[in-house]
Symmetry: D3
Subunit: 243 residues, 6 copies
């Protein structure tokens, strides 16, 4: 059976750290680490909205995701050099945006756009789940700052949001996959859940071996377990803030 | 409670038709219809593979998805005019490709690439699930043709693959959403499953309202019911072919 | 001497069919067929005009042309994937637009843009002439609909427009070239003419063998003969409508 | 009736000058002027061919056309800045290439590509016809140089090629239109002809007013008259060279 | 020691000519030649400014630089064909713009943008210094024309600007490098200076061999000598105009 | 007179720190800080070279530079989103590459390309000088690693390279400008120098106010003073390594 690095148990997360205020100029900046995976998440406010929101009184939360060329073991060509953003990047940044919007009251902060930049400094599996986890904290920090500046009356976020991956590697269930595990997985799932235990996104892919309803249920339960722990860390990073 | 058009029941598919050989020059071409949604799927063979497959002895199955500008009620600008492919398109074509690869023996047809083009002629919800459904039939038809030409010994597909959407609209579960239903849905899920009832992809999104484990289970059961019926249609379209 | 398929005479058109209302959501949609060549033409209205028309009181008619990747025997890469529109596509869509504008009163429908999308489903020579033929019908159908909705008082089209190709293949004049004939032709001409027998566009190219004034006259006469027949079909498809 | 500038007669060309060797480093460079229209044409040889010609033993002649931003009265944005080449440019460079290939023996100089760059220094109508006229001279000069270097045995060009525009302006036929005339023309035609009076390209467009067979014949005759004179100038510029 | 072509002394410029009014439609057009290097500079006025200048009351001077494909001995692919502008082009056009802005009162001509197009017709080293030299003359000519049309009260240029290159070739200092010299240089510097002997830009690069403070001083003195002579030519070209 | 933040003297550097091995997977990674400016530099090896180096036996050192969108106070749009790399980025990455190549023996490590990625995490002026400083350390670290792996016999770097900015702000000379100082500067210069006190690059720009030879000399002396100190830090970061 597959042995995890650092004697990790199948249902054990890697060490999760969430450092708020990493950038001096941007209080709403967060360096989130899931083991060796390291993502810098920063939230910012733009006074404009896309045309489809004009005159609706509503704002928007959107995310951009990018990997530094040397974040992976083999250098990757920059998307700016290739002149276009790849499919995987699009998929991930759309996922992050949707996850945050699901717990945000878009009508509470006017016709503004909030950008959450998630830049992967180092990648060892789980960059999208770490990004969602950090992006949520950056978003709340931005709203805290907006509240201080009188731009919102209260923080328009109605629940925690966090994410984790689960997979089946050599027949065994595992929580929070590292790169090495991910590349050997038969099934790879990502769950985005709220603090109250509801689902925002469920994405499961069998690259090689289709999976059964029983396996789906087991993975779902394992994900919930992991997310509960991550949300506890988010709460601490936010200084005990609660929705 | 939301009333479906044409008196459809909550667990009822729209009429599904799968027309093989729509293009004269391309036997592996399929016009698939889920109600008013109409997608032309065509499979073709390219003698080259991407660099990462060179000298592996393996081939690849990939998909491209596009909507005609007038397939939707409001004309959409062509992606060729905008000069780039959007995030949604990327997401869908990656999904189609992964779904087909999950049941295909990539080692059985040499270092070749199979393209499945899915062009949406008319869109009324479910274009990605109809695409997967039609793409599977086009793929098997291409392999049939390759077998006739001696390029494969047997058809290297080990199970059926089909897809369907399920959603929660105004609190009610519904199978195979039309555009109107999709745009009102609190939760929208797409399932890709095999003939043996296993999952290849599970994708669920709560744009507005997170969902519970019970709802996830109900949606999963409803999807299975629908997929079984669609796979029956695929079998008929393929003239009774079985993996 | 070159023998045409299906015993076609040198001055005989392929079967021409013009199906109005192919798309459910778009009455101004037309599936036009010249033999195996099949083009879906759809007209739509946009309430904006390009900057050069602002405050002139005039509208515009423009066309976009595209081939599905599998419309030809050998799959073509999508222009969206290549990130740019090729020279041939530009040339054809400019030709379609000019042809339609020549019979349209651009001052009669306000500062609006009419798009005519011509998407080639299957290609066997003559896709540009079929496109012009179908685009004209779609344009009149759109104006019919605009008249019903009170956007125009009368249909601002003052003549029929249709197009046909003529060529010299192995020394012999031929009307309405198929792909096979086109690829062997010494001279290839496209004519766009009105119902009253006048020329809107004349385009002739000698890829290999320059041609004489006598040949030009013969090709011109043959084109007129063909166009008269096609215009009769347009009239029928439009339910007897006359400018 | 429309009065031409400089008392030009309806069947009179503007002064045509063809200066060979304009660039010091490129003997096959030609500055061609049709009145105020000024185009620099330069031919060069590339030892590669496009994939479709590999192992055919044949070469290719291709052209690129571009306007300096200030060649027109109102500055135009560069195509390099816009990041893509427009439809008109594509159309013209394809026309120039086809015209030259029609008189060139592509099998006589091996698997090489000849580029003809046509850069418009100043534009006052007729830039495409001036380009073809100058490009032909540059091509022959390049072949002269290749002959000197032993790359071809004889100059593989079997006839002269030149081009001129003809139009109908305020009801009157006119040869070699200036910009002012072109912008008022009801009909605008471009003819590309050989020294032996045959047609390579015929392109006529009625932007406003369709034209009759009689008008087509008159324009054709007028073009032939103009082209004969331009070809005489080409012969002089080439130092009396004859195919 | 390296011998310069045409017996040029180390501190001798190539023949400098500055022809004003090269384009008939654009009085503010200048053909500048430094030996075989030939650049067409043309200034034009656009009534818009970039967003960062809106409501500041200030205008802008910007430059675009491009080389014709055949300006160099080996044909270069057009940047429009490659679809993007290269790094060297960006660097040069930014340099030209900065140089001109340094002597222009941007507050004196309203919220307008002046474009200076510098198109290299033939390149033999020093295209950027020739461009700056010619661009300055074109700019003053444009202001003269604007003054005539009442758009400025006086010419808002407070000093001459010119540029020259200096290098170290095989150990020897040299002024105004030709291509052959430039490609052998250990150090290559470009100086942009005013008529009053002050520096606007100093750019020195040691591709192979770092240089000392003494060499820097010598190069600086040599550049000043050259620039004084070039500025004299600018004054003549401008008909004796003085800031 | 302008007062610097933190009571900095005019000839005082900000605190410089150079952290080697910031990325776990990339020993040749360096986080360099000049005060609040923070750049992550990482070197990597690619076994290919550009076509112009094939069969020369030589390698290449090239750099890529990019700013994270939130590295500046106001969020910047990503270059990948805009689809192209801007002029400033091109200028800086060319500068970094040239600076490193000037002290590297390109013939000593075969036909390989070394990439140095410089990603700005936080920007407060001097990002290009910090990048060169960190890139040099990353390059030497990469060569150390290559030596260990037997890919080079000795480290093919013949001198230190470092860079610093100098400017004139409100009439006063200043070393190592912060963003606030840079934006007020009349003159802004960047110097790249070697450990032996020679110049590799000298770039000075007077955006508003041209500068004199005396000022150029003063700025040069001040830069040398700063660079000597920075090189001392590079030596420490490299564990006492000497060329």
């Amino acid at each position: 059976m597959y042995e995890r690095s650092n004697n990790r148990q199948f249902n054990e997360l890697r060490p999760v750290t969430i450092g708020v205020g990493y950038l001096r100029n941007t209080p709403a900046s967060v360096m989130v680490e899931f083991g060796s995976t390291k993502v810098l998440c920063a939230a910012s406010l733009d006074d404009k909205v896309a045309p489809f929101l004009k005159n609706t009184g509503k704002g928007w939360v959107t995310a951009e995701y990018s990997m530094l060329p040397m974040s992976t073991q083999t250098r990757q060509t920059r998307e700016s050099t290739r002149g276009k953003i790849g499919g995987r990047t699009h998929e991930i940044q759309r996922l992050i945006g949707r996850s945050l919007r699901a717990v945000t009251d878009l009508g509470a902060f006017g016709e503004k756009t909030i950008y959450i930049d998630c830049d992967v400094i180092e990648a060892d599996g789980g960059t999208r789940t770490a990004s969602i986890t950090g992006a949520f904290v950056a978003l709340v920090e931005l709203f805290k700052d907006m509240k201080t500046r009188g731009l919102v009356e209260m923080i328009p976020v109605n629940d925690f949001v966090s994410a984790v991956s689960v997979g089946i590697v050599e027949g065994a269930l595992m929580l929070d996959l590292e790169y090495e595990e991910d590349s050997r997985a038969d099934v790879d799932m990502n769950f985005v859940m709220t603090g109250s235990g509801l689902f925002i996104e469920v994405q499961g892919t069998a690259e090689q071996k289709p999976f059964s309803k029983i396996q789906l249920d087991e993975m779902t339960a394992l994900a919930k377990e992991g997310i509960d722990k991550i949300i506890a860390r988010q709460g601490e990073a936010l200084g005990g803030w609660r929705p």
